[in-house]
């Protein structure tokens, strides 16, 4: 524990630079969280510091644990949708999408085109909302207050749109195995969405870049900080913007296509080390900014092509029996690869449903890259990983 004398130069590598005589000293042990403004929820980081330098980081999670996987075993397949909303509560549509994709894959049914298009539109809007929050809170971690308010203003528009679509503002419960609950409202929803998307893509993103992304102080704070190498990203199971920030052009929507994503044109932004090293905080941040633009493109194409048809598949019965069978199905959620390992026994309830949440894996790398950085950089790195405790703790 903290009272042990340690060879600090070995721990941090900083003392080697100077001719400092060996002195007995000890590391300061601090709890960052669970109540801390920069931990994005009830995350507790037990950090040992040598002055401003972090020597060791140990994440402690579980403060939001609900044992959702146990609850899954007691609910039928449609009831369980409600709980998937609560994993990544900043992008619940993506979580819905992951789950219904998994169930329908086990059922072996194809959805009508309109269903898939509506799902893609909803999931991409949700992804934009989530990335806006990621941009906002990352800026806030850097001490920039104003981008937070701007991003929340835009997110509010998305929430309004999704409210008109699904009736909910935060937890939508919109997609169910077999279809979606509501069709597009006939009050000009599509036009409003298109207007908003155009506004976001053409104007607002440029504003954020001017205000935050290319701000000199912001670059100083984020470039070359918290570098995750390509190999580390693979080894630690990083996915989503964290993996792409490390220069890997991988996206489940393209590389492991599901739904109707193969019918849209979009690019996969990835980190190029534009301001520093490949895989630094700035790269991860910028991947999210650029993904917002790509999501806007997808939504626009989906709105254009939106086919007519039913919003529920007639192949899925009211009382749904799934399986028997087991499959791991993954989709690209806002935070990364969201997977459901679903074991069905032919009944109305899942036998086992393991949820592989992206933040759970992304957070893990903190133990590896944390030591040696400054406390401020640790805050930056946690912010750039963009974790949501709801899906880490499940």
């Amino acid at each position: 524990m903290a009272t042990d004398d340690r060879n600090l130069s070995a721990a941090t590598g900083w003392a080697e630079q100077d001719d400092v005589p060996e002195m007995p000293s000890e590391l300061l042990e601090i709890n960052m969280g669970p109540q801390h403004p920069a931990t994005h929820g009830v995350l507790r980081l037990l950090i040992e510091t040598d002055g401003e330098i972090v020597a060791k980081v140990t994440p402690h999670i579980g403060y939001l644990h609900r044992c959702a996987e146990k609850i899954a075993e007691g609910l039928n397949y449609k009831q369980w949708v409600v709980y998937t909303d609560r994993f990544d509560y900043l992008a619940p549509m993506c979580c819905n999408h992951a789950y219904v994709t998994a169930v329908e894959r086990l059922l072996g049914v194809e959805m009508p085109d309109r269903v898939e298009y509506l799902r893609v539109i909803a999931a991409e809007l949700s992804r934009i909302a989530s990335h806006l929050i990621a941009i906002a809170t990352f800026g806030l971690d850097m001490g920039a207050w104003t981008p937070l308010l701007y991003c929340f203003r835009e997110r509010e528009e998305i929430l309004n749109l999704l409210e008109r679509l699904s009736g909910g503002r935060m937890l939508y419960n919109y997609m169910i195995p077999g279809g979606v609950r509501f069709d597009v409202p006939e009050d000009g929803w599509c036009e409003d969405t298109r207007t908003f998307i155009d506004m976001l893509e053409n104007k607002k993103i440029g504003d954020y870049n001017t205000l935050l992304s290319y701000n000199k102080i912001f670059i100083e704070r984020t470039a070359d900080i918290g570098v995750i190498s390509r190999e580390d990203a693979f080894a630690y199971g990083c996915t989503g913007p964290v993996l792409r920030g490390s220069g890997v052009q991988f996206d489940c929507r393209k590389d492991d296509p599901y739904s109707v994503y193969d019918q849209f044109e979009f690019e996969i932004p990835y980190g190029t080390g534009e301001q520093g090293t490949v895989g630094d905080c700035w790269d991860r941040y910028m991947v999210r900014v650029r993904e917002v633009i790509q999501s806007c493109r997808i939504v626009r194409q989906a709105l254009e092509k939106l086919p007519p048809g039913p919003i529920m598949s007639d192949q899925v019965k009211k009382v749904m029996r799934v399986g028997p069978g087991a499959a791991y199905t993954r989709v690209e959620s806002a935070k990364g690869e969201m997977g459901h390992y679903l074991i069905a026994d032919g009944g109305q309830k899942p036998f086992r449903n393991k949820v592989r949440s992206p933040s759970f894996c992304n957070l893990q790398i903190l133990e590896k890259i944390g030591p040696g950085m400054m406390v401020s950089d640790l805050v930056a790195t946690v912010g750039s990983l963009d974790i949501v405790l709801g899906e880490i703790d499940r």
Binding site: G325, D345, R352
Partner: protein, 214 residues
């Protein structure tokens, strides 16, 4: 590489009869004996033709009470009855525990699913955290919720539940504690702080479940 080709390659390296192929259903998988898993994991990671550099998912599973015929007659959820008392599981805890590994290769773009079963009494598996560091937390979760031990794991502690929790909730025979019952904590504090004085144990007369929340 296709599933069959991967299996053939693995069989030539590991020896015949090690893999038990299941090619039916949505997702083909391979069953394996626990003592072979370490060797297989090394091969899967290191063979350049396979190069599974990402462990997508590692799931701990309790197979107790699975309806093998696929009629959906598996064990029911344990919950709370109307008066808030926990229902007791009718499961006595038989059947195996298991782990499923889902692998993906970014180099080759292929997937592979590996399953392993361990007897309930000796639920111990070699850890793959050395091969895929992401396995460390997944294995901690499997230990925490299903109760499978991983030998050679760098830091096998509970991850989601408190260190003082008793039992593994995702086991089918897990008995739900009372709602505000301190029993699972055995009178120990929720978290252990070496600098803190030990907490007073809860008063003896407070065992009816109406005691304060931790």
């Amino acid at each position: 590489m296709e599933f069959a080709a991967i299996c053939t390659l693995l069989s030539t390296k590991l020896g015949d009869g090690v893999l038990e192929l299941h090619e039916e259903g949505v997702e083909p998988w391979v069953d394996m004996k626990p003592d072979q898993i370490a060797a297989a994991a090394h091969l899967l990671r290191e063979l350049p033709e396979l190069d599974f550099n990402q462990l997508m998912c590692l799931s701990g599973i309790d197979w107790d009470g699975l309806d093998e015929k696929g009629k959906g007659k598996s064990v029911a959820i344990l919950g709370y009855s109307a008066d808030g008392k926990p229902e007791t599981s009718d499961r006595v805890g038989e059947g195996d525990l298991g782990v499923a590994y889902h692998l993906y290769s970014h180099q080759h773009g292929h997937k592979f699913t590996l399953r392993v079963r361990v007897p309930r009494g000796a639920a111990t598996l070699p850890s793959v955290a050395e091969i895929w560091p992401t396995g460390a937390w997944h294995e901690r979760e499997a230990w925490d919720l299903v109760g499978i031990r991983f030998t050679g794991h760098p830091d096998l502690r509970r991850i989601l539940l408190d260190d003082s929790w008793v039992g593994h909730p995702l086991r089918k025979d897990y008995q739900m504690p009372g709602r505000w019952d301190l029993a699972p904590l055995e009178g120990k504090p929720y978290s252990v702080n070496p600098h803190q004085k030990p907490m007073e144990p809860p008063p003896a007369g407070d065992a009816d479940g109406s005691g304060g929340e931790g």
